[in-house]
Structures are given as C-alpha cells and as structure tokens.
Symmetry: C2
C-alpha cells in the first residue's frame, strides 16, 4: 500500500514529551496541518443558518484572526446575495485566504473567479449513488470536464482544488484514476469527502494513505459527523498524509454537520501541542463559538469539548483528590490554554474529603482533616436527600465551623 | 504485534452488501459487541446528575428494555443511598445484568457482593500520574491486591472485571503483566480505560490488538470524549478485538463524558447493521435520551447523531434533489430505523427547484417544471432578504399558484 513519497511533504514533527504524542510516521502531517474553515459554506447548509452580510463579515474576521488558513464561502452561483457577499469578503483584506466551493463546470468556475477569490474548490459526486441519482455523468465526462475547468482556473492565476463527493462509496480505481489525472493537470489540492458521514478511522487511513502514494499535491479531507467519527477521522487523515482539514464552528452543516473547529483544536492541542498553540489563537475559541451559536440560534452542546459547561468540572471524590494534587491526572487539556478554568464540584453524594478540604481552604476556614471528613459526611448525607448547590455545601461547612467555635467557646467557659 | 488468538472469539461477522461494511478481520468483534451501560455510574459523575431512586429505576428499566447487556451502578461504598439503590436495582429482575464499579480493595468488593450484583467491576489507576498523585501504590502491590480481591469475588459466584485506569498513559509492560496475571486468576473481563480522553483510534487499535494477544478473557473498553474521539475509539477497539463498550445516555459523565449510547448506535447500525438492528430496540433511543436529558436538565445537543433536531434535515438544493431520487445518496442511516423521519428544507437561498417541486406536490398543487423553477427563484430572492419559515415558503408557492389561476381565468374571460 506504499507509493511515491509526497514531494511536498517535509520532515515529520519533532517528538514531544507528552505520553499522548503520536507515532512519528514520516508521512504524518499532524505537526503542520492547515484548516479550511467552512462555516460560511458548509455551515450555511445547516438547518438554522441564515447569515446576513454583517454576520458573514464578523465570522470571517474572527476566524481569520483565530488563525485558520482558508475560509470557504458558499458558491456565488447560489443566489445574488451569495455572489455579492463573496466579493465583499474577498475585499476585506483578511489574513486567511478566501475560497469558494462550486460545482465542477465552467459557468460556476467563471463566476467564482469573477468574485476575486484566492482559490476555487471544485466538487463533483463520484459514487455510483451520486452518478445515478444526482448528476448522471460518466467518469470519463467527469474527468474531461474537470481538466478543462482546472486549466481555466489556473490560467487566471487562482488556486484550484478538485474534490470528489462521497469518496468512500466511490470505486477506488475510478477515483484514483481521476485524482491522478487532475494532479497531473496541476491542481493544488485534491479533496476526499465523507459526504454521508459513514467512514471509520481505519477506512480513512487506508484511503488517504493510498492516495498519498498516487498524487503529489496536497490532500484536503472533509468529514461529516453522522456516526460520531468526524474528529477522529480528521486526525487519522493527517496521520495518513492529508494536509488540510475542513471544519466549521460547532460543526454546523448539512444534517448534524462536520468536524467542529473547537473539537479539532481539543484533539490537535493534545496530538500536536506546540504547533497548535503557536498557530491558533485558542483563547478566542469560546467567543467565536458563542457568536456563531447566537447567530444560528442554538445552544453550545452541554458536552462540547473544551467549551461545554462541564468540560473541566470534576465531581467524583477520587478524581477531585488527584486533580488537586496534579491536574494532569484527570485532564489531558489544560483549560488555561483556552482561557478557561477548572471547577471541582463538592455538591454530590460521590464527592470526597480532599475536594471538600480544597473548598474549606478557599473559604478561609481552619479545620483539621478529621473535621473535614466529618463535614464531608454531612454533605454526602444531605446530597443523598436532595440536589445541592454550591451555596448549600458552603452553608453546611460554615454551620459546621460555627458549631465547632461555639463548642470551643463553651468549653473555654466551662474550664474558666 | 500478533499473538495468541482469543480462545473465546468465534468466526467474524458475515460480509454485508453495504459499501461501508468493515474489513472482515478474524479478530474483529463489530458483529457481536456487548454494551455496558454506565449512565447510573459514570453518568452519576456528570456535573448535573442527581438521580433519585425513582429516576434510577426508570433509567435502568428503559435501558434493559432497549437491550443493553449490562447496567453499571455507582459504588455502594459512595453513600448509604448508593448502597440501598444498588440493592433495589438488583431486585428489579431486569433482563440486563447488574454490575457495580468499585475501587480494587476487599472492603469495597465485599460491600458490592452484599448488594446482590451479577458482577463486580474493579478499577485501579496504573499510570505513573495516578500512582503518584492518587493512590500511591506500586505495581506489585496493585497486582497482589487485585488477585486477592478477584479470588474473593469469584468465590462468591459473582462475575469480576479488572480494569486499569488511565491505561493509555500506563507503562505498556506494566499493564500487560498485570492483565496477564489477572487473566490467569480467572477474571471475566479486563478493562482498558482512556480516563482522560486523549487516545486516538490508532493508539486504541495498537493497545487493544496487543492485549488481545496476551489475555484470553473478554476485553471491555471505556473512552472519555475530551478530544472528540470516544465513538471512533469504541468502534476501533471492537475492530482490534475488544468485546464490550462502556456507554452512557448522551455520553454524560465526568467532564464532557464518555461514548454516548446513541452515537454508538449510529456508528454500529452502519458498521454492523443486522446485529445492531436485531439486538437493540433502536426506536426507543429518543425516549431514553429525552428522559435522561430532562432528569439532568440539559438539552439534547443540536448536533447529536440521530436525535439532534437536524440529523435528517437536508437543505442544499443539490442534496435535496438527490435525496428525493434516492435517500441513500446523502443518508448513511435510514431515520425510520429509529422511528424518525427526514425533512427537506426549502426555506433558504441555497435551496433548489427539485426540493421545491417535492413541496409543491405535498401541497397538492399542479405546476409545470418551468413554473416550479420560477417560484423557486422567488423563494431564493426572498430568502436572500430575510429568514424564511416553512409557512413563508408555502405562502409564496400558494400565492404564485393563485396568480397563475387568476391569469388563466382572466385569459379564459378575454378569449370568451
């Protein structure tokens, strides 16, 4: 399954001391991946998305400031507004390069180039499903059209990507033949897309690794999340030699969406910490997610990596004890990297005395370990009866402390 | 990296005709995996979880009816209530077997057995992090204690699992030595846990595949979702020979939780459709998720696989066209399997005339293709200006249709 080495690939990332660092394959791109941020294209296909020009400008600017390499916009052929907005965003002078995603035909490509984009992302369905039920074209016709369109875009001095759609249900020989031809025609990137979200990491590794041996150009990957594998598929694609990952903020897109930018950052700050921290402005993530969530009127999922309300909340006594001694015991990501903090819950029946001790110290009270164990047992008893808020547990601690003082005062009085 | 074949493993699943079906490794367990549902243990560690006895009974009953193989409960040592509830659930006579998850010491194991559980899940941290900052025990002491406790539990005729915690940051030789010893001592399962949620699918494959060559017993796996890989890691573990997956409803657990039951079902109904459909009562999934969400006071994430509000919503014109011709073009999961339906949105600027045609037919109106293209263009113009609801697009269609009738009536009049 090997092949010609990617000419554009350099040395792999230096090993780090993290016990989670990756096997350092020569083919792996985890140490220098690029992000194609598609909130303004794939994200616009999300059921709730209706972006005004102002929304689009703000999202584009925030994402460019965050450090994504490319912004992908809805095809200017979709509507008059899409066309105008594409031109507007091209003229903002953002650091990120601007792409638009169009069907692989000359008319769409011309309209895209007209807008002043840095690159045109061509797409066509290659699976038997899409060839039969969508566009009805043969592989020969797809290849012929692709090469004409690629040559046109290149002649205008604009970057060009060629992607199949539904790549994992396409005939392997068909798509390798097609990718080889477009690579020879000089595309900057070929794209592999799991359009229906059914691929597993091992399928991704196999396809991307094989493709890496067939083309010399960059490889972009696009993963839908219907079966919950979009983040894992992205990191696996990089391990197999893919160079670019498509994301959207909170993963918004068709159906339940694609690889979310935030979850990918959580993944990559663990897999490739130095590169990820130096390249992307991680503390901005939460503000970007909150803005997009407000525009498309959704809540940030409670279980979102990094920014979910409980992503750094520790509850079980055994966890809290170790976290207090060393956060790395139960945290693979330091919340401070994203400008966030951890929280140790002591309001449940499964809390432990080490967690309570930490709260007692925060409250500035002076209790012995035996006293803390006693008050912990009171908290657990109460938590067995009803849900507790932090105010409740603080009251239990304060009242326990007051009683001790009263006892002690009484004793002093008696002795006196 | 090979080893002795798993003695308890039988022939691999029969190939299916799905283009997404897995490579049929002899080692793969994707065709006969079992679920250890831990909403009542891991889920109780979720920040918002406060389960009453009534909640626990209802969750246990629903999950047992759904078809999960095991239910794992909070340690009876945690609190008086945990102890009582554990006994209560053991006495319900559910189809699912009842487990409880305790620290690997004799006192906890005795309390567990006392409750009448079918199995005791022993756990201890084996990473250098946990050994230093949590319990402070050496590997020798861990092994000695483990074997004593295992022998005790077995002597009571109760199933026993031994799991390391933070397995992916543990020394490989250490944990293989330990697992080999407990396998010899007769455990029913060993457990591999990505306690901090930092593992990637390739790390999972490597560790589980290696372990599969070392032990003859079943292999349980437990994946946290801090870096968004918990579902992919689960399916990869099965491919590498793991037999059991830990889940919780909506993934609730410490921090942002573990492999969600629903997302795993989405994954496995694609990977192993016949087994998954025949074994698990998929149309119950939504009700179970809604009940647990209401108990822990969270919203079902908008982008949840299967049950997220938009999981089967199609919006882009090019998608809608193909979906109408054949749903498999852009759907890897048939929503009907989960008792759900698809929805084709026509309210946006990126809609297309095929989608509008389908709506025109639903409304029982009679328009030619050219007329539908004209009304589509009116919808796209309006959607460029403001967000549209389905009522709005229906009004545009109805008013267009009325105008046509009026024109036609007028023409008839003129002719007359």
């Amino acid at each position: 399954m090997c092949g010609t080495e990617n000419e554009r690939a350099g040395p792999a990332q230096k090993p780090t001391s993290s016990p989670y660092s990756q096997v350092q394959d020569y083919i792996s791109q985890v140490g220098r991946y690029q992000i194609i941020e598609s909130t303004l294209r794939e994200g616009e296909q999300f059921a709730n998305a209706f972006f005004t020009t102002e929304n689009k400008i703000k999202i584009a600017t925030m994402l460019s400031d965050f450090g994504v390499d490319y912004l992908e916009l809805t095809s200017p052929v979709s509507s008059e507004k899409s066309y105008e907005d594409c031109k507007t965003i091209c003229n903002l002078g953002l650091k990120a390069k601007i792409l638009t995603h169009v069907r692989c035909n000359m008319e769409d490509a011309k309209k895209a180039v007209e807008c002043g984009v840095d690159g045109v992302d061509l797409v066509i369905g290659t699976s038997s499903f899409l060839r039969e039920f969508s566009h009805g074209k043969s592989m020969e016709l797809i290849q012929k059209t692709a090469i004409e369109v690629i040559e046109y875009v290149k002649s205008k001095g604009v970057q060009v990507r060629f992607s199949s759609e539904d790549s994992f249900r396409s005939d392997l020989v068909d798509i390798l033949t097609l990718y080889k031809a477009v690579d020879k025609a000089g595309v900057d990137r070929v794209g592999v897309a799991d359009t229906v979200g059914g691929a597993t990491p091992r399928m991704v590794y196999d396809l991307v690794r094989t493709l890496r041996g067939v083309v010399g150009c960059d490889i972009e990957t696009h993963f839908h999340d219907d079966t919950g594998c979009a983040v894992a598929n992205a990191v696996t694609a990089l391990e197999a030699g893919a160079t670019h990952i498509d994301t959207s903020v909170l993963g918004i897109g068709e159906r339940n969406g694609i690889t979310p930018l935030g979850a990918l950052m959580a993944r990559m700050v663990v897999t490739s910490p130095e590169y990820t921290k130096s390249k992307y402005n991680l503390p901005q993530l939460k503000a970007i997610e909150e803005y997009v969530a407000s525009v498309v009127q959704v809540n940030i999922p409670f279980n979102n990596p990094v920014t979910g309300f409980c992503a750094f909340t520790h509850k079980a006594g055994i966890h809290a004890k170790a976290i207090l001694a060393n956060p790395s015991t139960y945290e693979i990501i330091d919340p401070a990297l994203f400008g966030l903090t951890r929280y140790i819950s002591i309001t449940s029946r499964i809390t432990g005395w080490n967690a309570v001790k930490s709260r007692v110290q925060q409250l500035g009270l002076d209790l012995t370990d035996d006293q803390i164990k006693e008050v912990t047992s009171k908290i657990k008893q109460m938590a067995d009866i009803r849900p507790l808020a932090i105010d409740d547990t603080d009251s239990i601690i304060h009242s326990y402390h007051l009683n001790l003082q009263a006892d002690s005062a009484l004793q002093t009085k008696v002795v006196a």
